[in-house]
């Protein structure tokens, strides 16, 4: 054996041992006591939503721990493909990413996100309730730490209708409420609403949607208003169309409608009937370089007070049960925020919960049928 071969073998052996050690080392996942000096790249949605996080989480955190600098990146709407590309390239530059629950489940399944032991990383509720209990069944994926409950629901122009809209089926009623409707250009939510208004019971929706005939039935219901639908793909489109009077009624995220109604004072009202609840929260990309610092930040940013604080800036419901009683007034408008929360009992009489499992399985297939229907 030549000397070079021996050296090469030794190097390979060392690399292998270090590598195996590294891989098998059971890393205890705990929020560290001290905040290390770090630059954290935190990815979110931008706009009013990022502002609310900036005010409720980032600013107080950086004031308390000036050694940490938080850099905002507004890439959440492309988070999963970008995380996949980063992971393939072996260069993960993000530390914490804000995504909707469906994307979190996806990223977790694909091994792109770190699983988080909720009870050891996150703070307890003020009364000592464990974090896992405080978040309850909103912990839909082992990688996902929910922040808010938001809903997709309708807003309508109060001055363009003859009487207030009260039911989601009014959207399908062109006789009583003529005019254009703004709906999201995807099957999710629209098919559920169509079936509800076609007489399907809430509990049977996903059984019916399970086969092609059921999807065709929902599409046939949508067909009755197809000529009056203007489709949207960005959350800002419906508020703009409502403000211009281009549509009479349209779906979007409830926080967008809140700002249209309360901040911009437009003649628009909420139609909470059969709003669809969804979750938004944090995931930690696998391979990030500041894992300890991120855990420390997460412990702070998802505690009971911080989640309640976010509701001062945007009308999304905090994900912790213990935060609900702490929700106060809007920071600048001074109005009570509780009645504007999608989770408020008065708004949540009829609610659908986004069905993650069903759509993870069926989205591709149903989307084909939906797109084909759209093109006709």
């Amino acid at each position: 054996m030549s000397r070079n071969t021996i050296i090469a073998l030794v190097v390979v052996a060392i690399v292998a041992i270090v590598g195996v050690n590294y891989l098998t080392k059971d890393k205890e996942m705990m929020a560290p006591k001290e905040a290390k000096e770090a630059n954290l790249v935190i990815v979110s949605w931008g706009g009013a939503y990022s502002d609310s996080q900036q005010n409720a989480y980032h600013k107080p955190y950086m004031e308390k721990y000036p050694q940490v600098k938080i850099i905002n990146d507004d890439s959440s709407n492309e988070a999963v493909p970008k995380m996949r590309a980063m992971s393939e390239a072996g260069n993960v530059t993000w530390d914490l990413v804000d995504v909707v629950a469906a994307d979190a489940i996806r990223a977790c399944d694909d091994g792109l996100a770190v699983e988080v032991d909720v009870n050891s990383v996150l703070a307890k509720a003020p009364d000592g309730t464990k974090a896992s209990k405080d978040f309850g069944d909103l912990l839909v994926s082992p990688c996902f730490i929910p922040q808010i409950v938001y809903s997709t629901t309708f807003g309508y122009r109060t001055d363009l209708v003859s009487e207030p809209m009260t039911s989601v089926c009014d959207v399908f009623d062109l006789q009583k409420f003529p005019g254009k409707r703004s709906l999201e250009k995807r099957p999710i939510n629209n098919l559920e609403w169509a079936l509800l208004c076609d007489g399907v019971d809430e509990d049977d929706i996903y059984d019916v949607l399970g086969d092609k005939e059921g999807v065709a039935r929902a599409l046939a219901k949508l067909d009755t208003i197809k000529s009056e639908i203007i489709w949207w793909s960005k959350g800002a489109e419906t508020p703009q169309r409502l403000a211009d009077g281009e549509v009479v009624v349209g779906s979007t995220y409830n926080g967008r409608l809140f700002s249209l109604i309360e901040e911009k004072k437009q003649p628009v009202a909420m139609l909470w009937d059969w709003q669809v609840f969804d979750l938004d929260g944090w995931i930690i990309p696998k391979g990030g370089k500041n894992e300890e610092a991120v855990l420390h930040y997460l412990n702070f940013a998802t505690d009971t007070q911080r989640l309640a604080d976010q509701a001062k800036y945007i009308s999304y419901g905090p994900a912790r049960k213990s935060s609900a009683p702490l929700v106060g007034k809007h920071a600048t408008l001074g109005i009570d925020m509780a009645p504007h929360m999608p989770t408020d009992p008065r708004n949540a009489k009829n609610v659908l919960l986004f069905n993650f499992e069903f759509w993870a399985d069926k989205r591709d297939e149903i989307d084909e049928q939906f797109q084909s229907w759209l093109a006709k």
Binding site: V80, P81, R84, R106, D110, G111, D361, K362, R363, D364
Partner: protein, 423 residues
Amino acid sequence: MATDFTPLVANGAQLKAALRKNKAKQKRKAFLLVAPLLAFILVGFCLPILDMLSRSAENQLIVKNLPRTISALGEWQASSDNLPGEKAFIAIAEDLQIAQKLSRATQLGQRINYELSGTASLFRKSGRKIENLIPLAKESSYKETLLNFDQKWGEVELWRVIKRLSKPIIPDYYLAALDLKRDMQSNSIDLLPSDERIYLGLFARTILISLSITLMTLLLGFPIALLIARLPARQGNLLLVLVLLPFWTSLLVRTTSWIVLLQQQGVVNDILVAVGLIGDDARLRMIYNTTGTVIAMTHILLPFMVLPLYSVMKTISPSYLRAAISLGAHPISAFWKVYFPNTIPGIGAGAIMVFVLAIGYYITPELVGGRTGVFISNRIAYHISSSLNWGLAAALGAALLVLVVTIYWLYDKIVGIDNIKLG
């Protein structure tokens, strides 16, 4: 003196060699000069495209993670209506166990889910429970255990799909991009049922709308270019700046202003109603449909038609027209027979530029296209960022590339590519 003189080049052969040497040196220099650009294009452009295109046919995920299942399915006839035997179920359990450890089980399920929905949850559930299932299966049978756990394992179609995906290179993404599907039962390639077809129609629409945009830019751009070319340099330059002005505004701003102008409660409709041309209940639909896409994109791409037209027209001597007219031609016929043919190289260049840019456009159709004015690129974007089906996105992209090259080739055959001039 004369005897001392030795010519540098004694004969023809030496002369040739010296010339060749000199030429080679110059070539090397030229190559070195373009080398940075060449390297940049290779690394920054060609390699990523090749990498992306290679995804349209590769199938490593399945082949690498289900090796036992694939070999166990070797003898099984996909055309039969019977489930594969115990061997295949043992194999899939073992494959799943390993995949779960590498956290690939759901990724596999997701991949198969593109072909057969329901598989994503099947693989996720089974992957999580596989450690508990295997001891049970060892006591009785793997087939029974898995079927008891979830009856989806008993669907013959699932096994057909796995068998179909058992090669390292597969045509399925391309077939899907053309609305085709391989049927393993009858071993044939069929067109999808009409309520599932998407892409053929979208390709046709993309070409048609792109062609109409090209035509519109030509109709609008030709007179402008003609005017600018005819005007004295000073006014001409001013107009040219106006043509270029849109380039300095953000694409999104331009697109959004079209929404403000064209929507039913927009400026144009308001004016038409105020003037009394149309009734308030009959406002025109000019946006969120094909019309919207054509109008907004014609505006955005207009400079790409005007500039080559202008630079070609600038080189046409005005004396040609004067000569034709002085020889007795009617001004219109002089323009048509003398001036216009000279502008064809510019039309060719402009048309190709506008068409190629239009066919790959994404953001404007997304915002103003509604349901009937979106392009194939919008579906590609959907598969890249929402469904994460990068294989299908790559196949659609490759199909679009082939389409563009074909059209280019047709253009070369009919008009001739040498005929293109940028000035």
